[in-house]
């Protein structure tokens, strides 16, 4: 277990000592008087100087949040205030959301970081107040006259440190914006504040190193083209060993009908690789004319957690590569924040994609009219359409060794509205599916606790706290329905939920949706299957058992 993580019993004790969801006593003090403490386990390591230099980002230096002096650049106050002014001009959302909050408190106990830490500054309303208090101090005229009345304060180094702490305890999951009567979206504020923090060199290596990698090599993990190909080819070998079927993915092939892009975690990370095997089996099963790019080899986009310009820069590769290869349209793999970017930003930033065609499934002829401008289709939509048109030979009994539940990923849930497609697919490929409690799924789903670029090892304590509401909901469905498999359509989930489950809910494994599709697909020319893609025995298919076939 990580040295950055207290024993589970210690965190449990911390929960039990709290009087309620809110931790601490504030009878005599205001929230802006509560002290701030950086210590091991509650911050992500800052970006290494060489990473900042590679990206051309300001103020590269060695420092740690535990230092007294953060080595801020000269005139940092002006940089921050100018950065805020510029963004207030460019984004109606920011201005509106700083101006119009009523502090009604509906959002307060909706944040997973608040529920997990009990820290009042993690209530979305106060997270935004960290900025509003400074904004009110300098901007609107009338409240400036009545400072004590409006609760405003100066931008001091302590305030900046507070921003750095709490805007990395927001995972941009947007759950608060579902409950807010005005739709105020804390993610929007977090995105802006993180951009501003970057201007003075406050950042996080776990976000910026992947950004630099992605820019250079095409993917977050920094995998060079030959290694990328090798890795997928080793998955092809694994598929052959397990099923006896040889799948033939192609790379950087001009003239393919479809360009397939998925997060690089699916190519390299466990358990993401099993999802990748599922995709490869599916594409082989339907004879899809597709190619994978080593240049645009990343679906995810940590630019979203850095700055909007960086998001645009990394995302530009998708259309650039689709145009070069001459494909008709793009198919995207399972990923959360990737789909927030593709759905809500890509076409605005890097479109119009008039060199592509309106997506049509080559197997069913279905037109994906909902993607007719962006020309990018989500794999869950694509597969749901295949199953609905009975184009797949599936044996859901091959997943009988799994009792599943489904975790809606924040970004596809609240930044896209995808709920039914993955559920439809899941129900067609397995026989045992149980929903978690209603306040913890669909648009009310809880974040894994580690989204938005804070999936760092050294941040494990905070991640386990922030992920607690999700884990708790899994525990309940596990106790009630003996669920042992948590299915997601997000690569970050596949990386972050396994440690979360091990910590709070041992005995629950994490799966990608298309891993289960891969398990259930009856391939032409396959050998007798006894194990799933993880080489775990499938129930009812043991060696020696007489199958009806």
């Amino acid at each position: 277990m990580s040295k950055y993580l207290p024993k589970q019993s210690e965190l449990v004790k911390e929960f039990e000592e709290k009087p309620g969801v809110l931790k601490g006593d504030y009878a005599k003090s205001e929230w802006w008087e509560t002290p701030l403490e950086f210590r091991e386990g509650n911050f992500c390591f800052p970006a290494k100087p060489e990473v900042l230099e590679e990206l051309g980002f300001p103020n590269p230096r060695k420092w740690a949040p535990t230092d007294d002096d953060w080595k801020l650049p000269d005139g940092w106050q002006k940089t921050v205030m100018d950065g805020m002014k510029e963004r207030l001009k460019k984004y109606r959302s920011l201005k509106l959301y700083l101006d119009s909050c009523m502090r009604c408190g509906a959002c307060a106990d909706k944040c997973h970081y608040f529920l997990g830490t009990g820290d009042p500054k993690n209530m979305p309303v106060l997270r935004a107040e960290l900025v509003r208090s400074v904004y009110r101090n300098d901007f609107p005229l009338v409240e400036k006259i009545l400072k004590g009345f409006s609760g405003s304060r100066k931008l001091t180094p302590e305030v900046l440190k507070e921003w750095h702490m709490y805007f990395y305890q927001c995972t941009e999951c947007r759950r608060c914006s579902v409950f807010c009567p005005l739709g105020i979206d804390t993610a929007e504020i977090t995105i802006m504040v993180r951009e501003i923090l970057q201007l003075v060199g406050l950042n996080n290596n776990w976000t910026l190193a992947p950004v630099a990698n992605c820019n250079r090599t095409g993917n977050h993990l920094g995998i060079e083209p030959h290694t990328f190909v090798q890795n997928i080819e080793s998955l092809v070998d694994d598929i052959e060993d397990l099923t006896g079927v040889t799948v033939n993915p192609t790379f950087n092939r001009k003239g393919a009908e479809i360009l397939f892009i998925t997060p690089s975690g699916d190519v390299f990370g466990d358990p993401g690789v099993y999802t990748m095997m599922g995709y490869l089996l599916l594409f082989h099963h339907i004879g899809l004319d597709y190619t994978i790019s080593t240049y645009a080899s990343e679906g995810g986009n940590f630019g979203l957690f850095t700055s909007n310009d960086m998001m645009k820069k990394l995302n530009a590769k998708m259309y650039h590569e689709a145009r070069r290869l001459g494909v008709k349209w793009i198919l995207g793999g399972e990923c959360g924040h990737m789909w927030r970017v593709v759905h809500q930003y890509m076409n605005t930033m890097n479109g119009p994609a008039d060199f592509l065609e309106e997506p049509v499934s080559p197997v069913t002829g279905t037109k994906f009219t909902n993607a007719k401008a962006t020309k990018m289709v989500h794999i869950a939509e694509f597969t749901a359409d295949l199953i609905h048109n009975q184009k797949l030979r599936l044996d859901p009994r091959r997943n009988d060794h799994l009792r599943t539940t489904f975790h809606d990923s924040c970004n596809v849930a609240r930044g896209m509205g995808m709920f039914e497609e993955p559920r439809y697919v899941l129900n067609k490929v397995c026989n045992s599916f149980h929903e978690m409690a209603e306040n913890t799924i669909r648009e009310q789903t809880f974040c894994c606790g580690s989204g938005s670029g804070i999936n760092a090892e050294e941040y494990m304590e905070m991640r386990m706290k922030g992920g607690f509401p999700r884990a708790d909901a899994v525990r309940r469905v596990k106790e009630k329905h003996k669920v042992d498999s948590l299915v997601t359509i997000c690569a970050i989930d596949r990386a972050t939920l396994p440690p979360l489950m091990r910590y709070w809910t041992p005995g629950v494994s994490v799966y990608g949706l298309h891993e289960l599709v891969g398990n259930a697909l009856v391939m032409e020319g396959e050998k007798k299957r006894t194990e799933d893609l993880r080489e775990e025995p499938m129930a009812g298919f043991e060696d020696g058992d007489d199958d009806e076939e």
Binding site: G20, P120, F179, K317, Q344, M418
Partner: protein, 331 residues
Amino acid sequence: MKKILMPLLMVAALALVPYVGVEYAGLGYLFGVLIPYAAAFLLVAGFLYRMVDWLRRPVPFNIATTCGQEKSLDWIGQQKLECPPTRRHAALRVLSEVIFFRSLFRNNKAELRKGPDLAYGSHKWLWLGGLVFHWSLLVIVLRHSRFFFMTPGPFFQFLEDADSFFDVTVPALYMTDVLALAAVTFLVLRRILDAKMRVLSLQTDYFPLFLIAGIVLAGIGMRYVAKVDVMPVKVLMLGLMDFSFNPPGEIGALFYVHLFLVCVLAVYFPFSKLMHMGAIFLSPTRAMPNNSREKRHVNPWNAPVRFRTYAEYEDEYREKMKKAKLPVEKE
């Protein structure tokens, strides 16, 4: 607690100003004519300024918050209000927020129990309290049209009759008076009694609540206790509607307290969180349709950003790519 007492004292002091001014200094003209004109002007001008100030700022991205199933394959049912496919549906979504407080209706309460164990219960009190508060105030404002127009019209007459349906006092008791007071009390108490609300509330949250409570109490006092003669009030108001500068007649001081607090609210309104009244129509997460894959949203300042092109990438990795049998553009 200071942050509760200060705004309370402020409202009390503000209430005293016109009382002293009219009773002892004879400033009826100032409080009855000049200040109301100024306040009305500031309310309208300020409100418009704030709206224009928001509207002139661009909306670079389509950031709709989706709370239901998007438009997808034909056979998958859509939730068109929670995830509006068109501008029309988005408008309906915003209206459902304005009229019914739809998002607040979703509200629940998280409780941490031993275990640890998180439980969520339905918690619609804020929704109910907020709805009663806003609707009562709206009816009260509309009801006041009988002071502003010679013959207010059948709709206002109906409102008046409906509101005074429970004819239990003389003059007849308005339901909305009771409801507004009850709702204000609830909204203040929840800020004091709930630990989370206590931490997050500011003086600017209590001030408008106390101010509105003061206005309602002064109004109730005039109608049921002091029984202020309404005829000179109506004459004054009709005069104001005609932009006349005639001095007010003989009216009880309580009326000036009521009127002055309304003026304070009107001036405070455009420069405070009360502007949520206008903001709710513009909030991009609610007012935008979730159609960004179907229709390109245009960012007026779409900043050019240089990215690493395929050619640059191939230049760096050409040899490795060739070894891995990857096709290359240049040999």
